[in-house]
Symmetry: C2
């Protein structure tokens, strides 16, 4: 397997070593977490998050998975089955949170709001991911975002010159009040590399796309950046690391800190002066808080 950006080619065992070194470097260089800290990994059923959970565990980190069951029959059911089987097979600890039990299964939310719900669904997942971490006493939550995800997001933020996102984007978002630390340990690895890892480790690639998703809006940006990468190998990681070293600070210097309040419904942090977004949704749907 040839990796132009690293000017190297690997056989399978050496690729797995290379992969681990990149994860280790991604963690250490950013002071993400130590072996003493408990890590909650958000697993969706996709290859990236399962790869991350497996790799962290095998590296000796204290990691366990969290699957949020959105109650979407077409996608949540097969994804949950896949995640449960995978974790059982590899002896990985897994917690499952069911939105149906919380009174806000996504199909019902969709019916109530009658509009595209990707952003609401994202907000709900972030809320419970953080809440599970805080209430479960985890030091840090980890997601499987890879270099391509991060570079596409950065490109999107730059195209819009979104100052507040540019001030905070990165592989680590430090904890604050009742917001747990958030990390992306795969940030140094491309989609191609994580896919290759997943393939070599026998991680099933079967994946049922969400029936409500309009298709990933980042795919165009990923395609453009991969076009550049082909001509100038190493461009993606340079762009991202250059941003971390020189770009982000320029925006962070003047970014206003958003004041966070406490939601009277769930006790989690919110920028709203009343209920947080999830509790407002619950109230709208007649669910007791």
């Amino acid at each position: 397997m040839g990796l132009k950006s690293h000017n190297a080619a690997f056989c399978a065992p050496c690729f797995l070593k290379f992969f681990r070194r990149q994860v280790e470097k991604g963690i250490k260089s950013q002071n993400m977490f130590t072996k003493d800290e408990r890590i909650l990994v958000a697993v969706s059923g996709g290859k990236d998050s399962l790869s991350l959970l497996l790799e962290l565990k095998e590296m000796g980190y204290n990691a366990s998975g969290l699957f949020i069951d959105l109650a979407i029959a077409e996608s949540s059911t097969p994804a949950r089955l896949l995640v449960e089987n995978f974790c059982a097979m590899h002896n990985l600890e897994l917690r499952v949170l069911e939105l149906a039990r919380e009174g806000i299964p996504i199909p019902e939310v969709k019916k109530t709001l009658r509009r595209p719900i990707c952003s609401v669904c994202g907000r709900i997942k972030r809320h419970y991911f953080n809440r599970c971490a805080i209430e479960g006493g985890y030091a840090v939550m980890a997601t499987g975002h890879n270099l391509d995800d991060e570079v596409a997001r950065l490109f999107s933020n730059v195209l819009r010159w979104d100052e507040s996102y540019l001030a905070t984007q990165g592989p680590v978002l430090r904890e604050k009040d009742r917001l747990a630390r958030k990390v992306k340990p795969l940030w140094r690895l491309t989609e191609f590399e994580t896919a290759n890892y997943a393939f070599l480790r026998g991680i099933p690639h079967h994946w049922s796309p969400c029936p409500y998703s309009e298709g990933a809006s980042f795919s165009v940006l990923k395609k453009q950046m991969n076009g550049l990468e082909k001509i100038m190998p190493g461009r993606k990681i340079d762009f991202y690391q250059g941003f971390l070293a020189r770009g982000r600070d320029a925006f962070a210097r003047t970014a206003r800190e958003r004041a966070l309040l406490t939601c009277p419904g769930c006790g989690m942090p919110t920028s709203s002066s009343d209920l947080c977004g999830v509790c407002r949704l619950k109230r709208l749907m007649g669910v007791s808080l």
Copy 2:
């Protein structure tokens, strides 16, 4: 002619009106210059700079052209002929500066340095462009850079997170000491639009590429940005205007002002504590300063 980013389509006379409005808006919104100021337009023989000179003149601005004859037989000779004919035909004032007379014709420079000379040639052109403006009493120098040029340059600066370029890039660079104001009045117009203007105005598109050039390094970046523009019309101008409104300041706040000294050879500003780059080159080539 359809312009998706403006959600409009034009017949030829209306396109020319649209073009003029965009130039006017580009000038006024950036306080580039007034009708009282003398403007020196760098003309290379390419369609953009000739379009700019013609349009400024017809808009009633006090503009004249400057052609720098690099003494490259294959490209300078036909370009100079084209420029001289065009200016004579349209009654446009033109100055010609000959590098051969200065003792540094580019083919000789190339022989002396024996390496790619694009950056040296660019430095020489910028030097004489500024010197002609200052010594000729012009308030401002103008170049024919269009939106695609500017967006590709911005993209390149962002990919490298080059803080000093990001702090200063823009359609106007204000005068300072003996550096004349530099402006790019076509910054709101795409390459497609300036080409269309040139076609409608009968500006000859014959153009002999420089035999020493390795091909434009920006063409890859232009291609990527045009790929995005196709899918998201208006993205290019939004990216550039967003940078001017929100991006540039973030970098300008901490940019260190480069101290400029005066070259003892030519009296022009230089960051060197000795001779400026052009005078050093002359000395190297045995030309008296």
